[in-house]
């Protein structure tokens, strides 16, 4: 059974449709990457899966349950966690408070979960009492991902986790994504760093103008000359 099953999703803003029927699957152990040009609707797709942009048609099925248009709060309860592209930390809250809020819906002792995030991202431990807004871009991204991991998600949605990071930090973050997935978390990720993303993913989708353009095993897309020419910069 697929963890996530998106079928013919239509969504947009105001009177304008951005997605014109997009379909995506994520299997239980997969890293699935979405690539495509700017403005293709990749972020809109994640937001409408997560209930931030209401779908106008189509369906979203999560772990066998229809969750089309379900509010973010409800999806979080079911184990879907989302790291948005921009403004994805609480800048005036400390690093540790950011992590605590990731498990807001739990009434439990969070110390062990927080310790696990610090194991994954050691630099956060010494900065735990600092406001997240004072950290570097790469460390803020660690806080953002750490926050989303606090609930042991059954699916993690990542929107351009390496955007604006130095190459070294970008590599580090992608390595961590692989590590998180190896621990059993399925991942649906948008990446503009297409080559590096395809190299680490199981499968990928190419989205253009709000429609599925191509899909397949990531390794095949990486070899495909047309994909190389159009989406990987030659």
């Amino acid at each position: 059974m697929s963890t996530l099953l998106v079928r013919d999703l239509v969504a947009g803003y105001g009177g304008l449709d951005i997605l014109h029927g997009v379909s995506i699957d994520v299997g239980p152990d997969e890293i699935v990457t979405i690539i495509g040009p700017n403005g293709a609707g990749k972020s809109t797709l994640l937001k409408s899966i997560f209930g931030l942009v209401p779908p106008r048609a189509g369906s979203v099925t999560f772990m066998g349950k229809d969750v089309t248009g379900e509010r973010p709060n409800r999806l979080v309860h079911q184990g879907m966690c989302f790291v948005p592209q921009n403004r994805n930390v609480f800048p005036r809250l400390t690093v540790e408070e950011n992590l605590q809020l990731g498990a807001y819906i739990l009434n439990a002792d969070l110390r062990e979960r927080i310790a696990r995030v610090y194991d994954l991202f050691p630099p956060l431990k010494e900065k735990r009492r600092q406001p997240a807004g004072t950290l570097s871009g790469g460390q803020q991204q660690m806080v953002a991902i750490g926050r989303a991991l606090m609930l042991d998600p059954k699916l993690l949605l990542l929107d351009e986790p390496t955007a604006g990071l130095s190459p070294a930090f970008a590599r580090l973050i992608l390595e961590k994504v692989v590590e998180i997935n190896a621990a059993g978390v399925p991942i649906l990720m948008i990446e503009q760093n297409a080559k590096a993303a395809l190299a680490m993913s199981h499968r990928a989708y190419i989205l253009t103008m709000g429609r599925n353009r191509m899909e397949g095993p990531a390794a095949e897309l990486l070899e495909n000359p047309e994909v190389g020419r159009l989406f990987l910069g030659g």
Partner: protein
């Protein structure tokens, strides 16, 4: 020198009152993204609630304060339910105009029920304590004490409770708070309740310092807004610092210019901040946007 110290004491007293008003205003401004013009009149209403408990029911003054804070919290939650919540998707200008309407309704209701005249919590003159050449009214000590206790309680609440952290998170980044799974509507209710309770305390202390009259809170709204903007919108700690600075500056200005210009001082500070540092002096808050 003694004169300056005396004015600093007045500045602390006024500052404490502004601080209590500013915390609630900055939280609703940051979380709901609208400038609540009814905040000053909620302050007045709270002061009159306390008057009712004190003389209508004959309760002790301290109990009257607590009862008024609870009543104010309930009133604010009800007003949100009836007026603001249905309008929330319409944008901040609509909410602002609605709050002006609420302000007028509250003020006229107060005039209708209690009349336009001044009221007092205590009869007779209080003899000031003399200490190092300073004249200190016992009420001033009460005001500073109550404000200090409430600020400490707010701090503990915001830092160490789940609801308090969620409130700060929502003031920081509303969309991310929703993404995180915070039940935002529930926190909004808490925000109104706590903001209003503090604002009622501010009104009570203002009434204790001077007297109660229907425009008392409205007259203090400008300095409260100045404190919120100075501290950065949505930042409760900024509002505390901003409130003390505004209160202190207003009183210190009386050493140089006529006391009649006190409100102008707050206004000038606010305009200057809006022009040069719209995110507040600590640059931690959101910028003003309508």
């Amino acid at each position: 020198m003694t004169e300056v110290l005396q004015v600093i004491l007045y500045g602390l007293v006024l500052g404490s009152i502004i601080v209590l008003g500013a915390i609630g205003l900055t939280l609703t401004y940051g979380i709901l993204n609208f400038a609540n013009f009814a905040h000053g009149d909620m302050m007045t209403l709270g002061a009159y609630f306390a008057l009712f408990y004190r003389f209508g029911l004959g309760w002790p003054l301290s109990l009257s304060l607590v009862a008024a804070m609870i009543s104010g919290a309930v009133a604010a939650v009800l007003i949100d339910k009836v007026v603001y919540r249905p309008l929330r998707s319409r944008g901040s200008i609509t909410l602002l105009i609605a709050s002006v309407g609420v302000a007028l309704i509250i003020r006229n209701l107060i005039r209708f029920v209690w009349g336009p005249d001044n009221h007092y919590y205590r009869r007779g003159i209080q003899f000031p304590i003399r200490w190092m050449g300073l004249r200190i009214k016992p009420d001033h000590l009460w005001i500073l004490g109550v404000a200090l206790v409430l600020v400490i309680l707010v701090h503990v609440f915001l830092r160490y409770t789940k609801i308090g952290k969620a409130m700060r998170a929502m003031a920081d980044n509303m969309e991310l708070a929703m993404v995180t799974g915070i039940a935002t509507e529930r926190i909004v209710v808490w925000t109104w309740a706590i903001g209003a309770a503090l604002c009622v305390a501010a009104g009570f202390l203002l009434g204790l310092d001077t007297q109660l009259f229907p425009d008392m809170g409205w007259n203090l709204l400008l300095p409260i807004f100045a404190a919120v903007i100075l501290g950065g919108i949505g930042s409760p700690y900024g509002a505390m610092a901003g409130g003390l600075i505004i209160g202190m500056t207003q009183e210190l200005s009386t050493l140089f210019i006529s006391a009649a210009y006190k409100p102008v001082v707050a206004f000038v500070i606010m305009i200057v901040i809006l022009l040069v540092r719209p995110g507040g002096i600590f640059r931690t808050g959101g910028a003003v946007k309508l």
